[in-house]
Homo-oligomer: 367 residues x 2
DNA sequence: CTGTTAGCGCGTTCAC
DNA sequence: GTGAACGCGCTAACAG
């Protein structure tokens, strides 16, 4: 040891080569397991690499091979378990295929999304799965321009040529609305998210269709939309409660909207479901575990993530030259207490049924 | 246009240079906003870049500058809101400082963690925040060897020289246990996670201390540990229920253990808190919103994430040459129904108190 | 203020 | 089987 190097440098392929008494080329062949190398040389190189704690420089490697080994996933809300469950599905498949996942939380913000799109391109991610925020077609177009294989998840964008994995939002909303109608509700408030997102529009479409089919009047005062944030939904429901519109049920366009609605109802002293029934799209697994209260239209989030990654891999590897696929997965109605259909005691039984089990086990450790 | 290029290539700095009629160096200076450039040249370059849809190649840039602009975050369980809330804190601070975050979900698996450590090193991440899985000191040592600035979060590792941001697990466990003792419980089952993680050991220490101080006998049959997974906790609690050990309360070492415990109690027909009281470490925000049921020792996860990232930035920028800091944040007891201290009606009041509000607002959109 | 030169660490020719 | 030379795209020196 000469002296403590002030400028610390990570070992490179040359350091390994010197130590093993071979050329850098040979080290490269051994490390990336590509090309010939005698057993003895191979062993010497591997030992030298081990001793030096050598880890290939992904930047240099990617620069040369044009394959970064990275895949990006852009989601709008990382604290929402619907998206984190998707993350797990994506990650499981990606890792099985030797890819690492960069997760970008766009926060429902088109500007943040734009920044992440630059990261995707700049990092030379080999592909990207996006649940688009707002009207982000401009951001998506950039991905297209840069030939980044793209799969849309949860939120399709009209006219954008990419594989899509989404839930049946129209059908699910119809079924959920029909459920409320069957329970006798005629004045149902619809608490929607951002109308710039396709899911918001689709779920509202389903809601309206169901009401029309039932010849139930649609009161525009009962329709509200805004952002997908809890606080916003809470404020809107509070506003409705304080005005003189009456309603006996709330259809929340997603799980977070439902939480906002419940908060507002609680703050104004209303009881659920006695005073107001509440249902929503998307499951909240942990909450259902603690108390199966909320009646939801649960989507197979884990499966959606897996499917999206599989489609992406096909595109990345050029297998699929076919036109974009649109995979639509059916949601499942989980009837619990908040809609007023079940009493607490009935619910106890419900909790033990495999409905709940399946919904959560989907997350399971097994593939 | 000559012909459709079969080999599509992204525009490089040279393409921009040619189009703007300047040298590549000048383009570099304009793009990275570093060095002189006349206004007219600057404008020409910016326009050319815009027209070409040029995005700098992060790989090449990082290779040259040795600064990838990336920071990694390794967490053990991405569906647990405790960790996703940490993610938000880390991300908010990192983005403010122009860094992007790579999230790795280690799944409580030392092997997966090892793979991600290689990604951290290989991607030349400028720093890393880790909530270590199991006894992962070997993995951490690799980070040390490679001079990657590291901050430990939630789970310190004895003897590892790095900044730590953690909760006061011993103190929190004592307080939570005392709460149960004050309610008259003497036979409390302790459902722990993986004893290889520091939090498990610290929380058990607090639990034992509190019992000793109260001169309450510790029955080893009431102590259980295993993995941090819901299913495992469920199985262990079921096992206890089916054996002939009696207990009137369960202290779950984290929120997931509590969910497992609740599942087991429900499956065996026990009522909470009437038959068995349940408390745990860590909040489940969304569940508390829907129904403030679970009595928890809530940790300031968002603040923990922010703090960890701030400490990491200090290290990365070489500001802090001081010895490693150990930041310990106090948790807060949120008394709700599952411990039996409150009736449902009292709880309604509770729900409106700012305890809950603060715990969730911490997540708020405001910085 | 701008251009020329060199090299970051790796994989890929092409020789031997 | 193995090594020497070259270049991926970018920026840090150094000139001018």
């Amino acid at each position: 040891v000469k002296s403590l190097p002030q400028e610390f440098a990570l070992p490179t392929i040359h350091d390994v080569a010197r130590r093993a008494g071979v050329s850098a080329t040979t080290v490269s062949r051994v490390i990336s397991n590509n090309g010939y190398a005698s057993a003895s040389v191979r062993a010497r190189v591997e030992q030298a690499a081990e001793e030096l704690g050598y880890v290939p420089n992904g930047l240099a490697r990617g620069l040369k091979t044009r394959r970064s080994g990275l895949v990006s996933l852009l989601i709008p809300e990382i604290v929402n378990s619907f998206y984190t469950t998707i993350v797990r599905g994506v990650e499981d498949v990606a890792n099985q295929h030797g890819r690492q996942v960069i997760i970008g939380n766009t926060d429902e913000n088109v500007e943040k999304e734009k920044a992440y799109v630059d990261v995707v391109i700049g990092s030379r991610s080999e592909g990207v799965i996006v649940a688009p925020a707002g009207r982000s077609s401009r951001n998506l177009k950039r991905l297209l321009d840069h030939q980044v294989p793209t799969v849309l998840i949860d939120r399709p964008v009209a006219g954008f040529p990419a594989d899509v994995v989404q839930g049946d939002n129209v059908g699910g909303a119809i079924e959920l609305t029909n459920h409320l109608l069957a329970l006798g509700h005629r004045r149902i408030a619809f608490v929607n998210g951002d109308l710039d997102t396709s899911t918001a529009r689709q779920r509202e479409t389903g809601f309206r269709k169901a009401l029309e089919a039932a010849e139930c009047e649609i009161d525009d005062q009962l329709m509200s939309s805004g952002t997908w944030f809890i606080d916003d939904a809470e404020a809107r429901v509070l506003h409705m409660l304080n005005s003189n519109v009456s309603f006996t049920a709330i259809f929340a366009a997603n799980n977070f909207m439902a939480i906002g609605a419940l908060r507002a109802l609680r703050r104004s002293g209303r009881k659920v479901p006695d005073d107001v029934a509440v249902v929503c799209f998307d499951e909240i697994e942990v909450a259902a575990e603690i108390d199966p209260f909320l009646t939801v239209m649960a989507q197979p989030a884990y499966r959606m993530g897996k499917l999206a990654m599989q489609l992406l891999l096909d595109r990345m590897e050029g297998k699929a030259q076919s036109p974009p696929q649109d995979v639509i997965l059916p949601p499942r109605l989980l009837v619990r207490r908040s809609c007023g259909a079940l009493s607490e005691s009935e619910d106890r039984l419900m909790a033990r049924s495999d409905d709940v089990g399946k919904a959560t086990n989907e997350l399971g450790r097994s593939m």
